[in-house]
Every structure is written in C-alpha cells, then in structure tokens.
Subunit: 223 residues, 2 copies
DNA sequence: CTGGATCCATGATGATACTG
DNA sequence: CAGTATCATCATGGATCCAG
C-alpha cells in the first residue's frame, strides 16, 4: 500500500519557470501534452504517436500530469477505453508548445529521415508552423485531411491556424479535402506530385492550398 | 581519448518540438538559458542563480548547449573568467521562456517560501510577467533597480516589457530608481512599506511604479 | 485486443570533496 | 574562478507478463 511514491524532481525555486518545469519538464511530458492539444486520446493512441516511449513511462507521465491538474482521465465503468484529455490548465500550455515548435522550425528543421517515426498529426503541425512563419497570408481556410483513414482539420480564421484531430462537423465544412496516407503526404509536401494523393475542392482554395503547403519544403533553413 | 561521450537523449522523431526538446529539454537547460537571456554570465554567476545545481551538471549543460549552438563561451587567454552568453539561436528561445513563465504565473504561483532560494532577477521577472498579465498598461517605463549592489533595468516601450542585468546607460536614463536588497524588495512586493527600500523619481512615475509592482501580490490566483 | 504492471539494466543526476 | 573526480541514487529504457 505504498501507492504513489512522489518522485517529483523539484527545483525548490521561487522562479515561476522552475515551477512550471517541475510539472511539465520531465522527459516526454510536453510531447504527451502536444498530442492531447488536438483532442482526447486513448493510451494506445498516445503510444502510437510517442514513438519509442515505453508503456511504463507513459503511464507514469499520465499519472503525474493528472496529479498536476494538467490532464484528466475519463474512465467510464463498463468501458474498456480510457480517454485522456487536457484540463483548462493543460490547454493553457498551448503557447509553450507553439513556441517550441516555432524554434524547432527555425533552428532544428530537417526532412524526415528514413525509418524515423512520422505521425500525420506532427507533419501537419510542422506545415502549419511553416506557413505561419514564412507567409503573411491572412485569409481564412478550412482544410480537411483524411490520412490513413483518420480525420484532421486544419483551420485558419485569418489570424491564427489551428489543428484538430476530428471529422468535419458537416460534409460541406471544408473548402479543400485531402485524402492520402501519411507517407504519401510527406512525399507530396517535399516534392509535389499528384501520385497517391487526392485533393478536391474549388479551384481557388485548392491552388492556395498547394502554394501554402509547399512552404515547409522551401522556406526554412534546412539542416 | 574517448572525449565527449555524446549522451544526447534523443527522441528520433520528425516532430519539430521533439527536436527542440532534444536540445533544451534536459533538466536545468532552460533555467540556464533563462539566466543568460538577461545578459552574459560567468560560471559562478550561474551557480548563484541556479540554486541546487551541482558544478558537474552545470558544466555538462553548458557544454551541451555550446555544441547545440545555443550558448557561446568567451574565454580570453590570460583571463580567469569565462563569460557565457546566448547565440542568436539561443536568444530565439525567448518566447519559450516567456510562455513558461506566463503559465507558471497563472497556474503555479505562490509566495516565496522560507528558505527558498530567491534571486533578484527571478523576482523581477515574475513581477514583469504579472504586470503584463494583469494590467492593460501601455505607457513606456524605465525602472532602475539596484539590489544587493547589482543593477537591473526594467523597461517597457509601451508594448513589451524587458529585463536586463546591467547598469543604466546614462545617470538620467531611469524615471524611477529603486535601491534595496532582494529580501526587502520581496517583502515590499507582497506588503508595500517603505522600510529598507528607497524609491526615487518624479512623483508620477513613482506612483505608477508602486501601483504596477503591487499586481504580483494581488491579481494572481494564489496557490 | 486495451491498458497497463513487474523486473532488471543502464544512464542521468545529486552529494561531496578536491584542484589548476 | 571554473571547473573535475568519485561515489550514490534516481529516472528511464527494454523486455516480459497479465487482468478485464
């Protein structure tokens, strides 16, 4: 009955940043949060995205983030699945995620390596960040991606882009719909060709999509 | 001659954020960067601020950050001191620091605990963050703090606040000058009284200073 | 099958002391 | 001032196992 051995590595500083890092500074923690920003996920959904994490570590991180008030677990009696999602305090970590992605794009960018785990969600996030950094485009947009049979929505209200892992609210919601596998989308992003990818929509939004999506390949300093 | 055993904990993900965290995600790394944002520091300056770090770990972090192109070391022959500072890529981590501080203020705030290491620089950073979060003040300001015999400048251009660890460029630069110890400033911030603190300047800027600095004590959800 | 737990190995960090 | 050396401890990874 020793239960949770509070292993919390603390700094014991007054500094706000140190105290923030006591909650989200452990290995994997911010990556777990990154994957919950786009919507609730199950344990195995997270395992898929966090290539290389062990179930032990994921389990431990989820417990710690729960205790820290950043993640909530939805366990319903009689249901197998446990759905993890962010609390409001967890959602407030969005700017931290964005700032790290922005820095990564500017200073740690490189193309996917062979054999490197690459999840659709992360590729889309990179693309959004590249568009945000490299263009001064301020038109609204609604793109619906269907990748490996799963749905993602990429949306701009003219000021800010967002990424959500869900299906469109209505069949006509999107102005561009992209159907592909993650692998073929990755290929497309770095060398546009219409093999193994299907892009539908009105001519103008589709043109704009093609132009914006290509920024990831070109605009950034490659490493 | 095995030299640097590249111990880099990698994730080997395509994700930009994972790659950013491979460089700055280790324990203490972001705190080192935080303390270099305000200006170049020596090894022992950093030791003072990073309460609880061991010289071994600090040394290791500085080497790693040097290799990562985030920190540069200025070693001049015939001089004992080594001055560490941020490269442009390191300075680009500013938004990450700010985002973590912002979250810390909203969700992990509490008053300094007895015996808790508290450095002037971190107290000032917290105060700035509180002012930024809690007020819609948009007047320029130039405050000169002299704490424990060291100089700090807090400045607002009307849009953004900044903190630098240096002396004012000219004797008349500041519109408010605060002379105190770190401990007495901490007391003052949480319960204004003019004991052990000296505030000079024109009446209006001083009034404004007193009003703004009190936000740290009051506006935030205390934990 | 999902959602873990357990055991062991290894690597990262901390404590303390000491040095050019 | 700017570290290094040594030893101890803790966190993480790898592999395997298990209950609902």
């Amino acid at each position: 009955m020793e239960g949770v051995t509070r292993n919390v590595r603390t700094y014991n500083h007054f500094c706000l940043m140190a105290r923030a890092l006591e909650r989200v500074g452990d290995r994997w923690s911010l990556l777990v949060i990154r994957d919950l920003v786009t919507g609730a996920k199950r344990f195995t959904d997270l395992m898929d995205r966090l290539g290389g994490i062990t179930p032990k570590t994921l389990s431990q991180r989820l417990r710690e983030l729960e205790v820290a008030g950043i993640v909530t677990a939805d366990r319903e009696p009689g249901r197998r699945e446990v759905w993890y999602s962010l609390t409001p305090a967890g959602a407030d970590l969005g700017p931290v995620i964005d700032a790290l992605n922005w820095w990564g794009l500017r200073h740690a960018w490189r193309r996917p390596q062979p054999g490197e785990p690459l999840h659709a969600e992360h590729l889309l996030r990179s693309a959004i960040q590249a568009i945000d950094l490299a263009t001064d485009d301020h038109e609204p947009a609604r793109w619906h991606f269907r990748l490996d049979g799963r749905d993602y929505l990429v949306e701009s209200d003219g000021h800010q882009w967002s990424l959500t892992a869900k299906a469109p609210p209505t069949p006509t919601w999107a102005d561009v719909t992209i159907t592909a596998t993650t692998a073929s989308l990755a290929t497309f992003v770095f060398a546009p060709s219409d093999l193994d990818i299907d892009i539908t929509g009105e001519t103008e939004p589709v043109q704009r999509f093609r132009q914006l999506i290509s920024t990831l390949a070109t605009v950034v300093h490659p490493v």
